[in-house]
């Protein structure tokens, strides 16, 4: 890096003459080495998936979860420094709880992403702190129906002032990605971590903007993309962790939950066969030396 030795990267919140904040860029580097995370916004829900590199054989399989639940309807997964990610999740939980105590209703995803973006950005402003070493994917489902206020006991007037608008629809699936700079965007498909480039190009192929991908298909795609993105670091073993959020009348009833075990295994099996298929196409050499999975 040409910037090294110029002195502008020694302190947080300092601009270089060409308008860069190097500490933030270094934080992005920390993220780029993290396990690949993928989020897909499907028509009837959101899927989150993460490649969990197994750093020791002594770690218990299935333990040390990387996807966290924030409010009932929100999940967060992040690449980069794990403790930073934990603190980020803890802040998200506080924001969601504080929203509930003020407004007596779950926090909308857009508001949560905004607050988290603001929080992360504050860590780029002061010399006494360092930026967050995580890029986080925040997924959730904003309830589409007229949601009761927490603690509500009656149904209120059926029409007129304070009444309900028949057939009114709001909410739906939401997916945001928050970067170390504090900037955040809403996505159809989001990827971060080591395999993000591969994952992004795979996500683009899904045509998510048309809104046709179902949640069940999204689970399978997310698993496949994590497997494809892992190809470049094949020497390392990994574990796939996935969670999902559906609409109120979908399989998770508007809640953020782990993808059921049998469904996860099914998706993994499909991902592996899809990969084998690709390998055969690439190495149609007479020896037919396919890599063993």
């Amino acid at each position: 890096m040409t910037s090294i030795g110029t002195g502008y990267d020694l302190q947080n919140s300092v601009f270089s003459p060409d308008g860069r904040n190097f500490q933030v860029e270094y934080a992005v580097k920390a993220v780029e080495n993290g396990g690949t995370c993928v989020g897909i916004r499907c028509k009837d829900g959101v899927v989150l998936a993460v490649e969990k590199i197994i750093t020791s054989k002594l770690l218990k399989p299935g333990a040390n979860k990387k996807i966290a639940t924030v409010d009932r309807n929100v999940g967060i997964v992040s690449s980069g420094l794990i403790p930073d990610g934990r603190h980020f999740v803890s802040r998200a939980r506080d924001e969601a709880a504080s929203w509930r105590s003020t407004y007596k209703a779950p926090i909308p995803l857009a508001a949560l992403a905004g607050r988290l973006g603001g929080y992360v950005q504050a860590y780029t402003l002061y010399s006494s702190v360092r930026p967050f070493g995580v890029t986080a994917i925040v997924g959730g489902w904003d309830s589409a129906g007229a949601l009761g206020v927490d603690g509500q006991v009656g149904s209120g007037p059926s029409a007129g002032a304070g009444g309900k608008i028949p057939g009114a629809k709001a909410g739906g699936p939401a997916l945001y990605m928050i970067e170390p700079s504090g900037s955040y965007w809403g996505y159809y498909g989001a990827a971060t971590g080591k395999g993000r480039q591969t994952a992004k190009s795979e996500l683009e192929k899904l045509g998510l903007a048309s809104g046709n991908l179902s949640l069940e298909a999204g689970v399978k795609e997310a698993a496949r993309i994590i497997y494809v993105a892992h190809e470049d670091s094949k020497d390392k073993e990994f574990e796939l962790e996935m969670s999902w959020i559906s609409s109120m009348d979908g399989p998770t009833k508007g809640r953020h939950q782990e993808v059921p075990k049998d469904m996860l295994e099914e998706a993994e099996k499909l991902a592996k066969t899809a990969l084998e298929g690709e390998d055969e196409e690439e190495t149609t050499a007479p020896e037919g030396e396919t890599m063993e999975e």
């Binding site: 009932r72 603690g151 009656g154 782990e258």
Partner: protein
């Protein structure tokens, strides 16, 4: 000469005797709830061999006025527990939010364990006892119904003093006087629970809801009823109508201003 501002413009102590300083207080002593305002009446519940049935009517009264007639007083917690709440409705709303936030924080970890009805009852009893010890009680009596850690039927009560007790059949409020004796005919002892079918339990609860509607002036004929079983989870119906009412007995009542035979 007294230069203290609170003495300005007041009668001199040396001439008129000591001034009553309590008039100088800018605020009243802090007080807490002395009585409930908007209230829900009885909650009934019966254990049967596979689960628990619980019911409460949909009325919130403001004194003797039937103020709100679509109030849900059975608050589901999760698939294996539900709380029926009688007493002050605003305190019920507070408790509902408290349980809501408890459920959110309980689901942060994905261990696959969830709070059962017994855990929930313990939690609520601690909340209620803390509040009564602060001399600021939540003016409610609650029945917690559902399944315990072994998926066995669980039913227990907690009130505004933090008092807890359990029985195969329970009723709060007016129901404790009118319904409990009838429910004890169904099961007066824990050993009887194994012989009670779901149908028998539901029928007994419905019958008692009817008796309560006849005799409790703060009750309503629209009610909520829930059944918790291991197989079916939580089945909640929130807008039921009392069936088979007969007011023929009213003719036989004497008193309340009625002086002559009909």
């Amino acid at each position: 000469m007294n230069h203290l501002p609170q003495a300005w413009g007041r009668p001199r102590d040396d001439v008129y005797g000591p001034y009553d300083a309590s008039y100088l207080q800018s605020r009243l002593p802090q007080t807490h709830t002395q009585s409930p305002i908007v209230t829900g009446t009885s909650v009934l519940a019966v254990k049967f061999k596979d689960g628990v049935v619980i019911a409460a009517d949909n009325l919130a009264s403001y004194g003797s006025l039937a103020r709100f007639t679509d109030v849900k007083r059975l608050r589901p917690f999760n698939s294996k527990s539900i709380v029926g709440i009688g007493g002050d409705v605003s305190d019920m709303q507070y408790l509902d939010r408290l349980l809501n936030s408890l459920d959110v924080t309980e689901n942060y970890s994905s261990t696959g364990h969830s709070l059962n009805a017994k855990n929930l009852h313990t939690y609520l009893s601690k909340v209620m006892y803390k509040r009564r010890s602060d001399i600021n009680p939540l003016w409610n009596q609650m029945l917690v119904a559902g399944l315990d850690g072994n998926d066995e039927p669980f039913l227990s009560s907690v009130d505004l003093l933090g008092t807890t007790f359990s029985s195969p059949t329970l009723a709060t409020g007016f129901g404790a006087h009118l319904a409990q004796p009838l429910l004890r005919k169904v099961a007066d002892d824990e050993s009887k629970v194994a012989d009670i079918t779901r149908e028998r339990a539901v029928e007994a609860v419905k019958e008692c809801m009817k008796v309560l509607f006849y005799r409790d002036a703060r009750s309503l004929d629209r009610y909520s009823i829930a059944v918790v079983t291991k197989e079916g989870g939580l089945e909640l119906k929130e807008d039921e109508q009392l069936e088979g009412q007969s007011w023929a007995f009213a003719e036989t009542i004497r008193g309340y201003g009625r002086t002559q035979e009909a």
